[in-house]
């Protein structure tokens, strides 16, 4: 659906997007992540033909966004950051204007607008001026606009920016629902959303793609994925010594020892192995009272921090 090859955008004295390539297949929901200023918005603007690239090519559904720009644009529903709207129009009027621009007309257009207004929950504000709408409603009007011409591809730049938790949940539901019959590229900072909705994640930082995989694989590959914490009542050095000998344990770190004799350890293990059973058996065999045994599930947030703050995973 999207095919990006060696895309680069140079400004005077600064490279915003540095030779990135990726693909998004038909029907995928892809999360596009990166710190502020990483080049996300620039990339999305190049995908939607708002900014011409310095070099490289983008094709959307087989149309080059630069040479076949108008055809490519018809395939895309794009919602820019902060949802720009004409303040002096009414909601319904705005949607009619946009639908006409995107080539709809007549009865078909009226039906389609009715449908997207229902779907995005803006039917009850359709006669209001856009300038009087709250942030949440503006966002939904923007979303209705992106959907109005039934595009194959939705590109959403921070659609949950500035929304309250309820609204974020609504947007998540909507994105999930839309994902059934659309390809979606979504840029956001709300990582639990991405974990819940996206099939794949692309993380960029300083204009380069740092990681591209399913959220699960990214998490599994992460160093912090293999951490187990144990709290036992035992002689600290003997316990540490014994635990180090378990197969799959790379490193044992002693965190704390309190006056009652409880010791806390953090074990770094191979990402694929789970040594909790051995630890349990060892505690029984050595008569160590055990009060905590937990494996830490790394989240996409850990991946994000690691990937964007250091080298490649």
């Amino acid at each position: 659906m999207i095919d990006v090859k060696n895309l680069t955008k140079r400004y005077v004295g600064r490279t915003a997007v540095d030779n990135i390539s990726f693909e998004v297949g038909q029907g995928e929901i892809v999360g596009f992540l990166g710190p502020n200023g990483a080049g996300k918005t620039t990339t999305l603007r190049m995908l939607t033909s708002y900014l011409p690239p310095s070099s490289g090519t983008v094709s959307i559904a087989g149309f080059d966004v630069f040479r076949d720009s108008l055809k490519a644009r018809k395939q895309i529903g794009y919602m820019p950051e902060n949802v720009p709207l004409y303040e002096d129009m009414r909601v319904k009027e705005y949607l009619y204007f946009r639908a006409k621009l995107k080539g709809l007309s007549g009865k078909d257009m009226r039906e389609r607008i009715g449908k997207v207004m229902d779907r995005c929950g803006v039917t009850d504000v359709r006669k209001k001026m856009i300038s009087s709408l709250s942030k949440g409603y503006r966002q939904r009007v923007g979303l209705a606009d992106t959907l109005v011409h039934s595009p194959q591809l939705l590109i959403l730049d921070e659609p949950t920016n500035g929304l309250d938790p309820n609204q974020i949940r609504q947007v998540r539901e909507l994105v999930k629902e839309l994902g059934q019959d659309h390809t979606i590229l979504i840029s956001t900072h709300i990582l639990p959303e991405v974990e819940a909705t996206c099939d794949r994640v692309i993380i960029i930082s300083e204009g380069k793609v740092r990681a591209s995989d399913t959220p699960q694989n990214l998490v599994n590959r992460l160093r912090t994925a293999g951490t187990i914490s144990v709290e036992v009542k035992a002689d600290p050095s003997a316990a540490a010594d014994k635990m180090t000998r378990i197969v799959g344990v790379r490193k044992v770190a002693k965190d704390s020892v309190d006056e009652d004799g409880w010791c806390r350890f953090t074990l770094r293990v191979e990402a694929s192995s789970d040594v909790r059973e051995e630890l349990y058996n060892m505690a029984i065999a050595n008569h160590w009272p055990l009060r905590e045994l937990a494996r830490h599930h790394a989240t996409l947030e850990d991946v994000f921090v690691e990937v964007t703050q250091s080298e490649q995973v």
Partner: protein, 252 residues
């Protein structure tokens, strides 16, 4: 063509539904009314060479409206789109940059014509209430409105250009005001030079001097040279506007 029509009707709509349109309309009507009244007074007091039309279009009040209209009606065009960010949604829809520019330009020209209609009515109303006694030469009327329209086409293009340069409407207004004033003063200066010294400037002057154009057209002399001059500059300035808007996106 369809896209152009959709954009044009949207632009016209935002002209006629905004309070600015009516404020400008009222202001221009007032200026023209005063200009008309002033010329009636002149003809009332003493016999004079000119007619009602020539005196109206030589009145300082006419120049006042000439200098205030253009910045007011063009400052919003591209600045507002850039400020709101709607230029991004507009240009990622299947819309060409030229279609966007022409729709805005044509809408402004239509609004400009509407602004001048009441002043044309002044003459007819006056003729009607004086039961045809007032002498209003049709040729002068045609000449005057021809030059008002052609100079309008040119100045609106300048306004578009100024508006494409900045996000700030005030800056756009001041820019277009300065450019229009500079062009006018340049003409006046050339006229002064040609009066001062040799004949070789006179030829050149006839192209630049807006005052001269207004005077000759208002006396019913339709000269094609200024018309070609203004129209070709309109084309140049509009293509510059296109370049600016596209260059903004390129920003190499």
């Amino acid at each position: 063509m369809r896209t152009f029509r959709i954009l044009l009707s949207k632009e016209l709509r935002s002209f006629f539904l905004s309070p600015i349109a009516y404020v400008v309309l009222a202001l221009v009507m007032l200026f023209n009314g005063v200009a008309f009244y002033a010329s009636v007074r002149i003809l009332q007091t003493a016999p004079s060479e000119g007619s009602l039309v020539t005196w109206t279009f030589n009145s300082p009040w006419f120049y006042l409206s000439y200098f205030t209209i253009f910045p007011l009606i063009t400052m919003r065009l591209f600045s507002e789109e850039q400020k709101l960010g709607t230029i991004e949604t507009l240009l990622t829809a299947p819309v060409r940059t030229t279609e966007m520019i022409f729709s805005k330009y044509v809408a402004t020209v239509i609004f400009y014509c509407v602004l001048w209609l009441p002043s044309l009515l002044n003459f007819y109303v006056f003729q009607w209430i004086t039961r045809g006694m007032a002498d209003i030469p049709t040729g002068q009327l045609i000449g005057s409105y021809t030059i008002v329209l052609t100079m309008g086409l040119f100045n609106i293009a300048i306004g578009c250009f100024a508006s494409s340069l900045t996000k700030n409407q005030i800056v756009a207004a001041i820019l277009s005001f300065s450019m229009i004033l500079l062009h006018f003063l340049l003409g006046a200066f050339m006229l002064y030079l040609s009066g001062q010294s040799n004949q070789q400037y006179a030829e050149l002057t006839s192209y630049f001097a807006s005052i001269q154009h207004i005077k000759s057209f208002a006396s019913g002399l339709i000269d094609t040279r200024p018309i070609i001059y203004y129209l070709s500059f309109t084309a140049l300035v509009l293509s510059l506007t296109h370049q600016v808007l596209d260059f903004r996106r390129w920003k190499v």
